[in-house]
């Protein structure tokens, strides 16, 4: 599964980076995106969802960051 690591990247650069990374993938691909806690995890998942992608899961790791699992949906 492709992995997009956005830890340490702040808003809105993290969202833009995620968009660009998703553009490289085939429609229907499931990816994991690593997101920092705080504003990032509050904003990035809903912005990606607003772009039409399907959110599958979101879990916090023991280290504190989040793993967002998402299916790329091309409109």
């Amino acid at each position: 599964m492709p992995l997009i690591d956005l830890r340490g990247v702040s808003c809105p650069t993290n969202f833009v980076k995620a968009k660009l990374a998703l553009e490289e993938l085939d429609n229907g691909t499931t990816v994991q995106i690593l997101l920092d806690d705080g504003e990032t995890v509050k904003n990035v998942p809903r912005s990606l969802k607003a772009d039409g992608h399907r959110l599958i899961g979101l879990k916090q790791t023991a280290e504190g960051h989040y793993i967002l699992e998402l299916e790329k949906v091309e409109e």
């Binding site: 995890v41 509050k42 998942p45 809903r46 969802k49 959110l55 599958i56 899961g57 979101l58 879990k59 916090q60 967002l68």
Partner: protein
């Protein structure tokens, strides 16, 4: 003075107010009406043209979102009104009237907006702007969410957008983002790893709905939280809660109802603001008046507008008497 030199003015242009005397001889500020602070680009260009032709070197943005043309000569009033095109750009009001409503950007492009504040501001402007109160100014403001950037509760009637959330448990992926995002801690994660809402603690900000990645949190009810009796100035008051989830379509009728009560109760009291009238009459009187018309949205009880201590000057005759002695 010969007839040729005599200044001719259409006094009807002055009726709504908005022409404010400046320091210099014959100079006036012309306050333009910009409800909700939204201005189309062509209109902005038109205003700039008029300002360049008749005004000074700058315009001023008023604290209530109006554009003010500065240094307009009395003899140019009619030409300014004509050049602005009365249909597109009416001058604003001053004095004891319903003022131009203030609003935030609202929900169209601001992701925080819960209601269409711009639409509400336009409706109020179209139907109530300039209505004489008989007593004092009357200000209305619309905030799209409880963050309340326009400081709605410091207005005579202040509206802030609100939503009541509800959870579709089947759509929840147990991520906990709602609980994490909930500033008043009204949502906590329960034993079953599902979010648990304490309704009484909720401020209806909608953060849970906005943050939810799967739309498990949905809008159950939507409308305005309404606070009445606020004002700023020398003796500030913060308005108190009179209605919840007022539908957007009832905003004009609601304000008109408050205005009718104010006009009647302030009779004989001179230049008095709504908030001070409520303090004098007691909030229950206004609450009962509103409940008769808006039974579903009026709250069961409230309190008088809250006095803000400015810490400068003396607020009562007793204090002054004490200082004199």
């Amino acid at each position: 003075m010969s007839n040729a030199k005599q200044t001719r003015l259409d006094l009807n242009n002055l009726k709504a107010g908005g022409f404010i005397k400046e320091r210099g001889k014959d100079l006036f500020t012309v306050r333009l009406r910009v409800p909700g602070g939204r201005l189309s680009v062509p209109r902005l260009k038109k205003i700039a043209e008029v300002a360049e032709k008749f005004g000074g070197e700058f315009v001023h943005l008023s604290v209530r979102q109006s554009i003010e043309l500065i240094n307009i000569n009395l003899k140019d009033f009619d030409a300014v009104v004509e050049a602005l095109g009365e249909k597109q750009q009416k001058v604003a009001s001053c004095g004891a009237r319903v003022r131009v409503p203030v609003a935030c950007g609202g929900c169209e492009y601001n992701p925080n907006g819960l209601v269409d504040t711009q639409k509400s501001a336009l409706e109020v402007d179209a139907q109530l702007f300039g209505t004489p109160t008989g007593h004092h100014k009357f200000k209305v403001a619309f905030a799209g969410c409880p963050f309340d950037c326009p400081k709605s509760s410091t207005n005579d009637v202040g509206f802030s957008g609100a939503i009541e959330p509800e959870l579709d448990k089947t759509a929840c992926i147990n991520c906990g983002l709602c609980a994490k995002s909930c500033v008043p801690k009204a949502i906590v994660m329960g034993q079953d790893n599902l979010p648990l809402l304490t309704a009484a603690a909720c401020i209806w900000c909608g953060d849970c709905v906005k943050v939810c990645p799967t739309e498990a949190w949905r809008v159950k009810k939507q409308g305005y939280t309404v606070r009445i009796g606020g004002k700023w100035g020398r003796n500030p008051l913060v308005g108190t809660l009179f209605a919840t989830f007022l539908p957007e379509g009832q905003v004009v009728a609601f304000i008109a109802s408050v205005l009718a009560w104010y006009q009647q109760k302030a009779e004989g009291l001179g230049r008095i603001r709504l908030g001070d009238t409520i303090i004098k009459e007691g909030p229950q009187a206004l609450l009962d008046h509103l409940r008769a018309r808006f039974p579903e949205n009026t709250v069961s009880e409230t309190m008088a507008p809250q006095i803000i201590a400015t810490q400068v000057g003396m607020s009562s005759k007793r204090e002054i008497a004490h200082a004199v002695n």
